[in-house]
Subunit: 343 residues, 2 copies
Amino acid sequence: MMLNLVPFVSVDHMMKLVHHIGIDRVLIDLAAEIEADFLRWPEFDKTPRVASHSDVGVIELMPTSDGETYGFKYVNGHPDNMKRGLQTVTAFGLLADVATGYPLLLSEMTILTALRTAATSAMAAKWLAPKGSTTMALIGNGAQAEFQALAFRAICGIREVRLYDIDPAATAKCVKNLAGRGLTVTPCRTAEEAIMGAQIITTVTADKQYATILTDNMVGSGVHINGVGGDCPGKTELHRDILLRSSIFVEYPPQTRVEGEIQQLPEDHPVTELWQVMAGQIPGRSSADQVTLFDSVGFAIEDFSALRYVRSKLAETGLGTMLDMIADPDDPRDLFGMLLRAA
Amino acid sequence: MMLNLVPFVSVDHMMKLVHHIGIDRVLIDLAAEIEADFLRWPEFDKTPRVASHSDVGVIELMPTSDGETYGFKYVNGHPDNMKRGLQTVTAFGLLADVATGYPLLLSEMTILTALRTAATSAMAAKWLAPKGSTTMALIGNGAQAEFQALAFRAICGIREVRLYDIDPAATAKCVKNLAGRGLTVTPCRTAEEAIMGAQIITTVTADKQYATILTDNMVGSGVHINGVGGDCPGKTELHRDILLRSSIFVEYPPQTRVEGEIQQLPEDHPVTELWQVMAGQIPGRSSADQVTLFDSVGFAIEDFSALRYVRSKLAETGLGTMLDMIADPDDPRDLFGMLLRAA
């Protein structure tokens, strides 16, 4: 094995990998991988992501480790990028061997993040949404929207998505992309119209501000809210009153308290860690009229699971190239000699 | 400009870059770049590096930003790697545009870290070591040793290096690599012998433990100690008594208090930030018999400077390749459509 070479999955290879396996299968597999890692939550070295904020966005590093494998993701969030023809969120990530510190995989993660975010949302809804949910409102029809729709179809059995975006062009794009995928897709002119008859409401907008995508009177009893877009200090989507009558489920409280919808609430407001529901330690949905909220901000373990999944698929698919990224002289103390000999 | 493509500097290209410019010139340039960035220290977004520790080593992320450019380094430290034929330290790093969050450069940094660490040591010594220093003891003759020797020659005018390592093979490797480079190189059988006549003592050993490479009676008045190897919680090189009679200079106190030699001292023990010396705010060496200690652990700004330097050299050298790392659909909201069209 050439230790200087690190397997690299480019954007092109990631897309080929997804099509080779099939998008639905990838979403189902990712949800299973993430669930398996959430079930061993205490084994992970966890830390809130490390954010560098500017006026226009944020750049974050999201590391974690299970003691055998280390992973981190680089990810940005720049809501104004869209106006400039750029992605709001781009990402790449790395896995490394804890025993040696040597990298094992470098991968694009813009597409992979879109997939893992949707898979995580649907996984959470499996535990929290009303049984037999068939209809989801999808408010915010940007880059993440179709991934959410397909994940909820594949993992939760959702059959209808009701779309709303302040920009009808975004909704039209979403309608077009979701055609022929086994979903009834209903474009709506208002958020109120979108949530009519929906058991699940997903909010996935991108503004970097305290927004009110949902007001209190829009949310009836018994629904599950999948709050994806409020994921940064100063960026929320739900009116505070909704939070006060919801059972709130989060990934990693030290991070969500700063970034999630619950930044609007006192620091001691009770929340439940999703992994504890999955582990059977704390009930998820306990009554039919309960409003459940998955206050999702995205956590490093989800990226770790996704990167490990991609790595596990490289051998069978032959995708990926090798990057000459690690200087590895024959005598490890002779780094300088290696440099000299390259002259 | 193809925004999906990120310039990548491989190990091979980094070595070619160094030889194209010349090692001495690179070391001098890096010291100048790092010095320029230290002089604008308050402009940087600073945080202690984010470490993930295991029994055998540490994996760290080192981010910083000057508000225009963001940079981070991935670096490991695994002292036992050497016995397995692996590098103790490997690294890679990235620059990104703060305005968009899009990456600007991905680069190997195992070699670049060796260069920037040596350049930083020599830069600090320029401010702290006795004027007219000509002789340096170099204790620890591993992968960093030759880089230290050359940086002190190029930047501080050192003419003799006196080498000691517990493994004579490491010293022999170092003697061989430094031949014909304008230095008198003297291998020594003990640390005591190595420091005879030296105005500067560099310790750069790799054990992950509280070691005592220098005891108090070995350090005479007036010397400058360049403490490079103590850079991790539980890993130090100097006897505490040396610290108590030294003027201690550090990079970023919140990080050095945890990782440096001063982890042996109370949290309020006075230290001086090196950038303040360079900015003329606080004196460096103030008397001939003063013992100065640069308690170096390595800080993110040094990597930022080094990465920017590498980036500035890509156009003229034509080195580097382009990596398809960022998914960048024509319509930024149509990430899913891009994925569909790749089918």
